[in-house]
C-alpha cells in the first residue's frame, strides 16, 4: 500500500455524510467497515499490524477485522461490540462518519444512539439466512428515528454462488416489510464484504445487478435536501453580552440553526413570550453573514430590546411551534435499573430547554420484531419502545419529529442518578 490516500482536495466543497451500520451479530458488519476503510486507504499500517498481532496471539485463523472496531477490553474478551464506535474515512467527494453500532438486542439503545444523527443507515443481512429479527428490528428503529436513507446490503453473496434469485427474494421481502414502515428512500445492494465485491467498484460477479457499488451510492446519495429549510427554528443557546470597554451594548443570541433560513430584516417572533421584532444582523466571529441555515452556529441580534434567555426560540410569526405541556411521544427506554412507569417523574431536555415531566399514560408497548402493539403494558423496560403521554412543567417549543428532528426529539434524565434513561420522539404536542 504505497499509493497516497485519496483526500478531499477542496475542503470548502466536500460535504459530510453520517451513517450508522446495523445488522445481526455475524452478518459481517465489522468486515464491511474494515473493507471500506481498507479500500479507501483509511486504514493505517500500525492499526492493521496491531490487529494482526493480536489475532495471531489469540490463535485466530485469519486477521480478525472486528478487532479494529472493538476497542475495549471487555469487547475483545467477549468478542462482541458493546458500545457505539465512531470511524472516519474520506474520498475526494465526501467525508464520512460511521457510527458502528452493536448488533445484540441488549444494546438496542446504542443502535438508537447511533441512528439519531445518521443521514443514512446500512442494514446488513447474510444472504444465506435472509431477513432475521434483527434486520426487521433495525429497520424499524431507523424508520422511527427518521433516518432519511436506508441501504440494505445483502452480504456473503459469494456463499450463495451469486444467485440472483436469492438476492431478489431477500430484496422483495425487505421491501414489503419496509412498506409498512416510514422509509423514504431504500436501496438494495448485493455484496461480499470479505472479497470486496460491489463495495468500491461494481463486481463482475453480479451482471444482473445494475445499481451502483456501495461506496458510489454513499458518495452520491443526495442529502442536502434532507435538511428542513422551511420552518425557521432557532433555539437560543446562550446570550452573548461582552463585559468590555471596547464592545459596548452588544447583546446577541447564540445558537445553532435547527431548521429554516434566517436573514437580516426578517420578521421574527420569540417564544414563549410571543414578542416580535426583526433580525438586525446575523453575526459570526468572521463577520456578519447574509443568511443562516442548518447546521450553522451563529449569533442573532434583534432590532428591539426584548428579554430573551436560554431555552427560548426564535421563529417566524406565522410559522411557529405551539408551546405545549402535553406531549405524545414514542419513547425508547434506556435504563437497566428502573423501568418507565406511569406516574414516573423525570427531567426532560428538549433543544436548549430543560424542564420536568411526569408520565401521564402508557398507551402501548411495541414489539419491535413484529410491530405488534401491546396495549396491556404497564411499564417500559430496557430497550423497550412504547407510546406515552407526558405532562411537562413548562411548555416545550415542540414540533412533530417527522417534520423536525431537532425540535421533535428529547431525552429523559433520571433526577436521582442523573443518567439519560429515555429517548423521545414527539408525535403530537398540544
Amino acid at each position: 500500500m504505497t499509493a497516497p490516500a485519496p483526500v478531499a482536495d477542496d475542503s470548502r466543497t466536500v460535504d459530510l455524510l453520517r451513517f450508522a451500520t446495523a445488522g445481526s451479530v455475524d452478518d459481517g458488519k465489522s468486515t464491511l467497515i474494515g473493507r471500506l476503510l481498507y479500500d479507501t486507504k483509511s486504514l493505517f499500517t500500525d492499526q492493521l499490524e496491531a490487529v494482526e498481532a493480536v489475532s495471531a496471539a489469540r490463535g485466530d485463523e485469519y486477521t480478525n477485522l472486528a478487532l479494529l472496531t472493538d476497542g475495549l477490553r471487555a469487547e475483545r474478551e467477549q468478542g462482541i461490540t458493546i458500545d457505539v464506535a465512531y470511524r472516519y474515512f474520506s474520498t475526494p467527494r465526501r467525508k464520512f462518519i460511521i457510527a458502528d453500532t452493536p448488533g445484540h438486542i441488549q444494546y438496542t439503545r446504542n443502535m438508537v444512539t447511533g441512528a439519531s444523527t445518521a443521514d443514512l443507515a446500512l442494514i446488513l443481512v447474510d444472504a444465506r439466512k435472509g431477513l432475521v429479527e434483527q434486520s426487521r428490528r433495525h429497520a424499524f428503529l431507523c424508520s422511527l428515528l427518521r433516518v432519511p436513507h436506508l441501504v440494505l446490503c445483502v452480504n456473503k453473496m459469494d456463499l450463495v454462488d451469486w444467485d440472483q434469485q436469492v438476492y431478489e427474494r431477500i430484496a422483495d421481502e425487505f421491501t414489503s416489510f419496509a412498506a409498512k414502515l416510514d422509509a423514504p428512500d431504500l436501496s438494495v445492494i448485493p455484496i461480499s464484504a470479505l472479497h470486496g465485491d460491489n463495495i468500491v467498484t461494481r463486481s463482475e460477479k453480479t451482471p444482473w445487478y445494475d445499481g451502483p457499488s456501495l461506496l458510489h451510492h454513499l458518495e452520491r446519495v443526495h442529502i442536502a435536501s434532507d435538511r428542513n429549510l422551511v420552518d425557521v427554528r432557532f433555539p437560543v443557546q446562550y446570550v452573548i453580552r461582552p463585559q468590555s470597554t471596547t464592545v459596548t451594548d452588544y447583546r446577541g443570541y447564540a445558537g445553532q440553526v435547527a431548521s429554516g433560513v434566517l436573514k437580516p430584516g426578517d420578521d421574527v417572533m420569540v417564544l414563549p413570550s410571543g414578542m416580535t421584532s426583526k433580525i438586525a444582523s446575523i453575526d459570526t466571529a468572521d463577520g456578519p453573514v447574509a443568511q443562516a441555515f442548518p447546521p450553522m452556529s451563529v449569533t442573532v441580534r434583534l432590532e428591539d430590546e426584548i428579554d430573551i434567555s436560554r431555552g427560548d426560540m426564535i421563529c417566524r410569526p406565522h410559522n411557529r411551534p405551539s408551546p405545549a405541556q402535553d406531549i405524545e411521544a414514542m419513547i425508547c427506554w434506556m435504563d437497566e435499573t428502573r423501568p418507565l412507569t406511569v406516574g414516573g417523574k423525570y427531567a426532560i431536555k428538549h433543544t436548549t430547554r430543560t424542564a420536568r415531566a411526569v408520565v401521564r399514560g402508557l398507551q402501548y408497548q411495541i414489539d419491535v420484531n413484529t410491530l405488534h402493539r401491546n396495549e396491556g403494558a404497564t411499564e417500559l423496560r430496557l430497550n423497550e419502545i412504547g407510546r406515552v403521554r407526558l405532562r411537562t412543567t413548562v411548555p416545550l417549543l415542540a414540533d412533530e419529529y417527522r417534520r423536525n428532528r431537532t425540535t421533535g426529539g428529547f431525552i429523559l434524565i433520571d433526577e436521582t442518578t442523573n443518567r439519560t434513561v429515555g429517548a423521545g420522539i414527539i408525535r403530537e404536542a398540544s
Partner: protein, 302 residues
C-alpha cells in the same frame, strides 16, 4: 442574482458542531476550563472558543498539566497565546507534586502516568466541573468509543461500559458535586481536518510542528530528540535529522518523524499520504499494552 446554495462544507459542519458543544458547556456548567497543552488540537479548540463567544472574551480559564518535560518552543507559544487572548492560565505542575510528595517519579523517568493524579488534584482544587479536552475519536480505538460529554465519577474515572447514551445533540451534563464531565468538542475531527482548519484559519503553531534539524536517537524504531529529559543510552548513536512533530506531549515520550514539510500545505500533503496514525508513529506511551489508553482513561486521564 445567484441562487442561494445552502452549502455546508465538512469543515463548516465540524466547526458548527464544536461551537455548539462549547456553548452548551458554558451555558450549563458553573466552572468549566479548557485543557491546553500547546499542542495543535488544543490550539484549534482555543480558536473555536474564540469564535463561539465573539465578540466577548473566552469565558473560562485554561489549564496546562505540566510534566516539567516541555519543549521550550511549546511553553513560549503557550504563554504568548494566553496573553494574546487575555486568558487565565492554571498550571497543574507535576514537578511540584513530586516535590511535595503527592506523586512519586516512576523509575523510568517518564511522567505520563503521574499526570493523571496531578490533573485530578488541580480539578478538585479549582472545582472545575467540566474540562474541555482536545481528544479525537480517530486517534485511538478506546477514544473511538468516547462520548462528546464523558461522565467521570468523583475519582475522575471513566467507565466505558456505563456511558450515558448520547442522542441527537442533547448532551446530558448533570452530575453530583465532585463528579465532572470531560467534554470533547473535536470528537468528530480527524488529524487531516485539524490541519486543514489550521490552514484555513491561518493558525500559528509552535515551530516544532514544521520540519527542522534536530539531534535524535533511534529507539524502538522511533526518533527521540536528545535533550535534558532524554539522554542517549549506551550504544545509541546521536544523529542529526530533518524532523517534525505530529503530536506534542511529554518531551521524554514524544517522538518526531522524518520530514521535509516546512509549511502547512506540505504538512497536509504529508498527513494525507501517511500510512501511520499519529499516535502509532510518535507516542511511546501508547505502546505499553493493547489497552494502555483505555487503562489510563479509566484512571482519569482525558
Amino acid at each position: 442574482m445567484t441562487q442561494p446554495t445552502y452549502r455546508v462544507s465538512h469543515l463548516d459542519a465540524l466547526e458548527a458542531e464544536s461551537i455548539f458543544v462549547m456553548r452548551e458547556v458554558v451555558a450549563e456548567f458553573e466552572r468549566p476550563a479548557l485543557l491546553f497543552s500547546g499542542g495543535k488540537d488544543s490550539i484549534v479548540m482555543l480558536r473555536l472558543a474564540e469564535k463561539a463567544f465573539a465578540p466577548a472574551r473566552i469565558p473560562f480559564p485554561v489549564m496546562h498539566v505540566d510534566t516539567g518535560h516541555n519543549f521550550p518552543e511549546v511553553l513560549q507559544y503557550r504563554d504568548r497565546r494566553v496573553a494574546q487572548l487575555g486568558l487565565n492560565l492554571v498550571v497543574a505542575s507535576v514537578p511540584e507534586a513530586i516535590e511535595s510528595g503527592t506523586v512519586r517519579e516512576p523509575a523510568d523517568g517518564t511522567r505520563n502516568r503521574i499526570q493523571t493524579p496531578v490533573l485530578l488534584a488541580a480539578q478538585e482544587k479549582y472545582r472545575f466541573d467540566a474540562l474541555f479536552g482536545g481528544a479525537r475519536r480517530d486517534e485511538e480505538k478506546a477514544r473511538a468509543k468516547e462520548r462528546v460529554f464523558s461522565f467521570r465519577d468523583d475519582f475522575g474515572q471513566w467507565d466505558p461500559k456505563n456511558q450515558r447514551p448520547e442522542l441527537w445533540s442533547l448532551y446530558n451534563g448533570r452530575h453530583q458535586p465532585g463528579e465532572s464531565i470531560r467534554v470533547f468538542p473535536l470528537s468528530n475531527w480527524t488529524e487531516l481536518d485539524i490541519w486543514r482548519y489550521i490552514e484555513r484559519e491561518r493558525i500559528e503553531l509552535p515551530s516544532i510542528y514544521y520540519a527542522h534539524d534536530r539531534d535524535v536517537v533511534v529507539r524502538d524504531g522511533m526518533l527521540y530528540a536528545v535533550n535534558e529529559y532524554l539522554k542517549a543510552r549506551d550504544g545509541e548513536e546521536i544523529v542529526t535529522k530533518r524532523v517534525r512533530y505530529r503530536t506534542v506531549g511529554d518531551a521524554s515520550l514524544t517522538a518526531a518523524v522524518e520530514s521535509d514539510a516546512d509549511t502547512v500545505q506540505k504538512v497536509i500533503a504529508e498527513v494525507a499520504a501517511t500510512r501511520l496514525t499519529e499516535r502509532g508513529a510518535t507516542r511511546g506511551d501508547d505502546r505499553v499494552s493493547e489497552a494502555s489508553m483505555e487503562d489510563r482513561k479509566r484512571e482519569g486521564y482525558f
